[in-house]
Symmetry: C2
Subunit: 384 residues, 2 copies
Amino acid sequence: MNNIFEVRATDDQARVGVLNTAHGRIDTPAFMPVATQGSVKAIAPDDLKSLGATILLSNTYHLMLRPGTQVVHTLGGLQDFMGCHGPVLTDSGGFQTFSLGRLQKVSEEGVTFRSHVDGSEHFLSPEICLEHQGLLGADIAMVLDQCPPYGLEEAQVHEAMDRTHRWALRCKEVHSKEDQSLFAIVQGGVSTELRLESAATLMYMNFDGYAVGGLSVGEPKASMYEIASLMGKTLPHDRPRYLMGVGSPEDLVECVAHGMDMFDCTLPTRVARNGALFTHRGRVNVDSAAFRQQSSPIDESCDCYTCQSFSAAYLHHLFKAKELLAYRLASIHNLRFVIRLMEDMRRAIVQGTFAAFRERFLSEYRIADEEVRRSQKEKWLRRR
Amino acid sequence: MNNIFEVRATDDQARVGVLNTAHGRIDTPAFMPVATQGSVKAIAPDDLKSLGATILLSNTYHLMLRPGTQVVHTLGGLQDFMGCHGPVLTDSGGFQTFSLGRLQKVSEEGVTFRSHVDGSEHFLSPEICLEHQGLLGADIAMVLDQCPPYGLEEAQVHEAMDRTHRWALRCKEVHSKEDQSLFAIVQGGVSTELRLESAATLMYMNFDGYAVGGLSVGEPKASMYEIASLMGKTLPHDRPRYLMGVGSPEDLVECVAHGMDMFDCTLPTRVARNGALFTHRGRVNVDSAAFRQQSSPIDESCDCYTCQSFSAAYLHHLFKAKELLAYRLASIHNLRFVIRLMEDMRRAIVQGTFAAFRERFLSEYRIADEEVRRSQKEKWLRRR
C-alpha cells in the first residue's frame, strides 16, 4: 500500500497530519472511540457523527466470538454492520486473548484460548488474526502481539518482544489486502533499550504505521510519558504513531506533545457510565450532592448535546434514578470532550502555540490523582 | 378553563380531535410515552421529537420522592427539567402510592405511605397531589383516585369508587391553575352499573377531561373492551377520554374503535428492553436465532431510526451482547410503532375507513396470546 500518512504541520515534537483510508480521511492527532463489541457503549452512529468522531476502534477478540467475523462479513463488514460508514481500525485480538480469554497454550505458532462467553476453544495465529480483520473489513489492521503485564522480569519482557517481532513479520508476509493498512506494535515494557530495539526491528520491516503497545497497563505515569517521548523521537516521521489504550485528557495532551498521532481508550465512556465527567477544570462526579440543583450544564464551555440541552441537576437526577439515558448523555459528553480536545490541539499545533495550550490545559485541568491511580489499578487488575 | 378539546371527525364511535394545552396542541387519538422518573427509559428528547410524540406522561409519585417536586419547579418545571418542551400530563401519584409505596394508612383525608426509595414517610391528599402537579408544571393534572385491584368484592370496589368521587370533588374545588386542565378518573371495576354511576357523578362535577382508570389491572380483555365501549358511549362527546395504562397495539386499535382519545402505557418500552418488538405481523423476539443473519430491518415497512439504519442481525447481536444501545434502538422502534399506529388510525377515521383499517390490522397483527397473557399477569402481580 502507498504511504497513507502525511504530516501537515509540526510544533516541536507535536504534529498535525492526515491519515487516508478506504473509508475516508482522518485528521490527526485523533482519538478513536472504542466499539468493543461493534457498538460504542450507549452511543449510536448519529451520535458519533455529531461528536466529530472520524475513526472507530473495534475488538477482533470480541467479534470473532460473537457474532463471528463471518457473520459480520456477510452483513457487509463492520461499517455496514454497525451503521457507521467511516474508517475502522481493528486490534488483532491478542491483547484480549491474554486478558479476557481463558488462556490454554501460547506457542510459536499462536495462542489457544477458551472464550469468556461460552467456554469454546479458539486458536489465534498471526495469519488467522489477519483473516478475521479482513472479514471484519478493517481499514487498519494490527499485527498479533504479545503484551506483557507491567512488573515482569526484563527477560520475560524481552521474550514477549522477540515473539511479537516474529509474529509481526509473519503478518507482514501474508498481508495482501490492498484497501487495508497494517500497523506493527512496538513492545519492550518500560525499558528504553528494549523499546529502541523493538522500534528498529519493526521499522526495518516497513509497516504502514507503528503502534506503541504495552503502556497504560499499571506502570507509573512518568514511565509512560518517557516511552512515548522516546518513541516520538524514534519512529519514522512519515508514518502514523498510535499509542494504544491511552485516553485520559491529561495523557492525551502529554502524548500529543511527544509526537503521538492516534489514541484509543475505553476510559472516557467507562468513567462516564459511573458519573465521572470531564470538564475544563477537571473530572467531577455528577452524582455528588453539589449538582442536585445546578441549573447550568456540567461544563458551560462544552458544545455537546448533553451540555447544550440539560442541566447538571437533570443529569444528577438521571444517575440517582439509574435511568438508562444517564449513560448515553454522560458518554456523549466525555467523548465530545476528548474529541474536541484533539481538535483544539490540532489548531494549536498549526498555529504554533501548542506549548502554551499544553501549559494552560494542564494547569486548569485538575487531575483527580487518587481517582486516576485507583482507576488505573482497577484497569490493570481487570486486564490480568 | 375553557373547553380544551374539539372533535374534528368521527367514524362510528371512533373520533379524531384536537386537545389544546399551554405547551402545544395534540392530535387525538394520541399515545403518551411514559417518563416515569422524568425520562422515557433509554430515550432522549430529540428521539421523542423524531418519533412524533406530542405529549408525555410523568409520574408524580416518583418525582415527589426524587428529585422532589420543589426541585423540578426551581428548574423550570418538568418541560425545562427534561428538556422536552411539549405538553406533559402528570398522574396524581395515587396509583403508585398503592402499588409501589409501603402503604401505612388510607383515610378520608388521604394516604400515608413510605417511599420505596428510602423508606421516608409521606402523605398524599387530593389537595397535596394538586400542589405537586402544580410544581411539576403539568399541562394536564389528574385527580387523586383509589384504584382497586381486579378481583375485589363489589362492595369494596364501590367503596373505593365513592371515595374517588369525594376526592375528585375536593380536587375540583381547590384547582385554580389557569394554564392547567384537570381530568377526573372514572372507577367502578368491571361492573357496568358502577361505571355508569361513576361516569354520571363525575360528569355532573364538570371536568376538562375524563379518564377511565382501573383497567389493564388483570381483568379479562373482554371486560376491558366492554368497559371501554360503555365509556365511549357514556362520557361527554366534547371532552377528551383517556384510557389509563393501556398501550398494546391491539388494545389501542380496539379502544380507539370504542371512542377513546388518549392512552399511556409502559408496555412498548418495557417489552422493547426485553427484545420484544412490534411489527405489522405481530410481536417478535429479536434475540431469537431466526434474526442472527437477517440483513433487512426488523420491520421493513417501519420508518423509525432503528429500522432505517440497522439490520435485524445487528439488533440481535446488541441484545445478545447486552449492549446499552440495544435498549434505546428497541424502544425507539416500539414507540414509533404505536405512535405511527395512532397516526394511521387518525387518517383512517378522517377518511371514514376505520372499520376496514381495524379489521386489516387485527387480522395481520398476530397477537402473541400466551405472551400477552403472561405479561399482563406479571404486570398485575407487580402492581399489587
